[in-house]
Symmetry: C2
């Protein structure tokens, strides 16, 4: 391996976009596929997705949600059944027109999202109130053609996600489900990825095409831009009517059902990279790290090797018995310094260094990736490592919360808004609720309403744009 | 629910094909999607796939294999790079020609398999012997347009599968990997799905297009037809040459690498349905059953209910504490008889019946699904249920092995072959090794060489077709 393989060559502060791409590629999370807009996940990247999937699956199951499978092809005629929905997705749809040399009559769309397909089936599966609630989640990919430059995890034409689709007897139950899911999303992102989120509703302009309303969680990235981290939609009866998702109630009268849909995607991995990475590369929160501890044995000769390796093996076994994911870097011919840089670039939360002198002193050096702190642990304290990992997880969220707070400003004056938006950030600003002002602000500053936080209704202020009475204090920001 | 929803209306022996379809649909494993050739998995069907995936993942991980993600779109130019491979798949490929209203220059194939895409990337990722072995598995779907009638799990244009792709320094190591995987496949299918398999090589005619050779596992279904259950291919350097998958060895000389690829699909679920189901419906092996035990409380009035339900709850908790997947059928307004039929149709391995009289006698009735046997257990024996489930798993494999043995015949006479093939079965018959005889047998009887079992080399017989010296005793059968 040459020097050129090692390390990130730009600073996160100087060129955020280039820094991000280098981290993704050099930490071997992902790579570009031969088709523009598409990426491949390498095992270290996919493993993070598997970890998130497993956490969500447990929480979904507790909430009575089970997984299913939907095919990727949706006939054009079906996709067009809910017109606003179709108009929203149509420009990005990939169309299959041939199988082998045969032309296909009704063109087939690669799923941009599966509402139309799922609800066609739900309409067959649901007859009575006994069949409800019906709650199914699908782990798959969605395809939406991107014309802008590819950005791994953030802007790709195919992305891994989950889409959940539930059906309920009452509006109240469906709306509760929307909130339950948003809550699962929020606590998973905060607890597993150590990224704080702001939750609330999208504006009418920004909601999911076809929804009654969309709830969202948004995070602010270190470059001051907002990233949508997940959405949970209340669909009302907007789909149950055209798709005839009906049930006979206890009194045998037929009703249209109430529905929700919701999803998170591998964007969460992109957010994790941006939120925690530094100039040395990736920084992984311990809970989702494919490898939580790497042990680098240090020796110059066979004598050293014989002194060090048995202890390394012992530490490895101790940690594995506590369900810690450990790796021993036994690569020959690479210097300890090279290895340290390599594992730092890959973001492994803890590195243990152990050489003959450490054996004599009965202690090891433990380097924390997130703050680059080094501590000494004597052999008896090795038991503490699981606790140290838990503390790191907590500290990373604290640090990210403090940064997010720093980047969130209360701004009620439009000149200040226009000035400060150049540096980015979340701006809490009063708004009258009218589309016209929302459009003008977007046009003049590039900032959108990312989320109207729950409880941010506020009629005591003046709209930052038109000066009329405010309705709420949304978070405005430029977005990804 | 009307009577028409309940029960399978044809016998497995009378109309196997219709029986199969009814089981799939009525046990709610799968349903047809709006596009011909495509199916949807409902939670009870998908759960079986999740169980298999989890078992394979553990075994793959132990063998140093990790998971990754590949996009579904492959450019036509790339798919065509290995010509035989391309010619093999070309007629079944779905082609994407447009994104939105834009025509795509180099048409995009929906992955029929990912060798060409994976190896384009591997060629970038692999530089030195240090990067090998590289072993990545991908859980995804493959798309191959089916023109024949859709058969859930067995003949669909999109199917869930895993495809593994490994790269090695030496031929020997690659060939060992091929066998290791085949072994994982065999023991998983036998232990989890209770289906015996015959393993060996495919003939040159039947091997994977592009492989040096293909190893396979084949099972005989109750209708006497063979089903390919999984394949593990030795690719040699057939792909590493056109795709330039090269590595610098320790001496710094560049070599083409040795490769394998291998896969199993949701066909395994189809095989499980066929192998174990009966006239009452599905029969699930306990290890993969989404629900292993269903408890049906029986009572006519509140007094009975109050006597029964606390015990039901207690049994449920006892079993759950032993990691048994239990469900209590508390549906009101349905008779016990209706419920028994319903759970039998859905194949739940054990049903517990408990009414006021059982409470008095301190015992429960336990009905085994696979042989319809009913036993009484007193309350103290409830602890035995996990063991009973294990025994059922073993018994189901034994039973399936006996059936497979019954359907496997040694036949050396071609008139007998032609006569008996009408009833189906696995025929162990001597063969000279020539394509011509293989073709003629297929043409005249519909039977193909499904597998040449390991160790079946045999030069002491005469080819069943041409009477020349035999080379081996393959298994001939008509296939799915």
């Amino acid at each position: 391996m040459g020097k050129e393989d090692v390390g990130i060559t730009v600073s996160k502060n100087d060129d955020f976009s280039e820094w991000y791409t280098q981290v993704v590629l050099k930490a071997k999370l992902a790579d570009y596929a031969p088709v523009k807009g598409l990426i491949v996940l390498r095992p270290d990247g996919y493993s993070i997705w598997e970890s998130l999937r497993s956490t969500f699956d447990k929480k979904f199951a507790k909430n009575g949600i089970r997984n299913g499978f939907l095919p990727i092809l949706i006939p054009e005629s079906l996709l067009g059944k809910e017109q606003k929905h179709f108009a929203g997705f149509n420009p990005e749809v990939f169309w299959v027109t041939h199988s082998g040399t045969n032309e296909i009559g009704d063109r087939l769309a690669l799923r941009p999202t599966s509402e139309t397909l799922a609800y066609t089936l739900y309409s067959k599966w649901i007859q009575s109130w006994r069949d409800l609630p019906l709650k199914i989640n699908f782990w798959n990919t969605a395809l939406r053609a991107e014309i802008k430059a590819t950005k791994p995890f953030l802007r790709t034409s195919e992305f891994l996600w989950q889409e959940g689709h539930t059906v309920h007897v009452t509006q109240e139950e469906a709306e509760k489900e929307v909130m339950k899911i948003l809550d699962i999303y929020k606590n998973t992102v905060e607890e597993e990825l150590a990224i704080p989120v702001s939750t609330g509703k999208k504006s009418e302009k920004e909601k999911f095409v076809g929804a009654v309303y969309t709830t969202t969680m948004e995070s602010i990235m270190p470059d001051g831009k907002a990233l949508q981290m997940g959405t949970s939609h209340f669909l009302g009866q907007n789909f149950s009517k055209p798709f005839e998702v009906k049930f006979a109630d206890k009194d045998n009268v037929e009703h249209f059902a109430w529905q929700t849909s919701w999803g998170v995607s591998w964007r969460l991995i992109g957010a994790m990279i941006m939120a925690h990475g530094d100039d040395k590369g990736l920084v992984l929160p311990p809970k989702v790290a494919p490898m939580q501890v790497v042990i680098v044995p240090i020796y110059r000769n066979d004598e050293g090797k014989n002194a060090v390796l048995p202890k390394v093996e012992e530490i490895k076994n101790t940690l594995e018995s506590k369900d810690i994911r450990v790796h021993v870097d036994e690569r020959e011919g690479l210097s300890p310094g090279y290895k340290f840089n390599d594992w730092e670039m890959k973001g492994v939360p803890l590195r243990i260094e152990i050489g003959p002198k450490d054996i004599e002193k009965e202690s090891i050096v433990v380097a924390k990736r997130y703050n680059l702190e080094k501590i000494n642990l004597n052999f008896k304290e090795i038991e503490k490592i699981p606790t140290i990992l838990e503390e790191i997880q907590v500290e990373m969220l604290k640090k990210a919360k403090a940064e997010a707070k720093n980047n969130t400003l209360d701004i009620s004056d439009y000149s200040e808004f226009k000035l400060k938006i150049e540096k980015g950030g979340f701006f809490n600003s009063p708004w009258c609720g009218k589309l016209e002002c929302e459009d003008k602000i977007k046009e003049e500053t590039g900032a959108e309403i990312r989320v109207i936080p729950f409880g941010s209704e506020d009629t005591n202020q003046k709209c930052i744009y038109c000066q009329e009475q405010s309705a709420s204090r949304p978070i405005f920001a430029r977005g990804y």
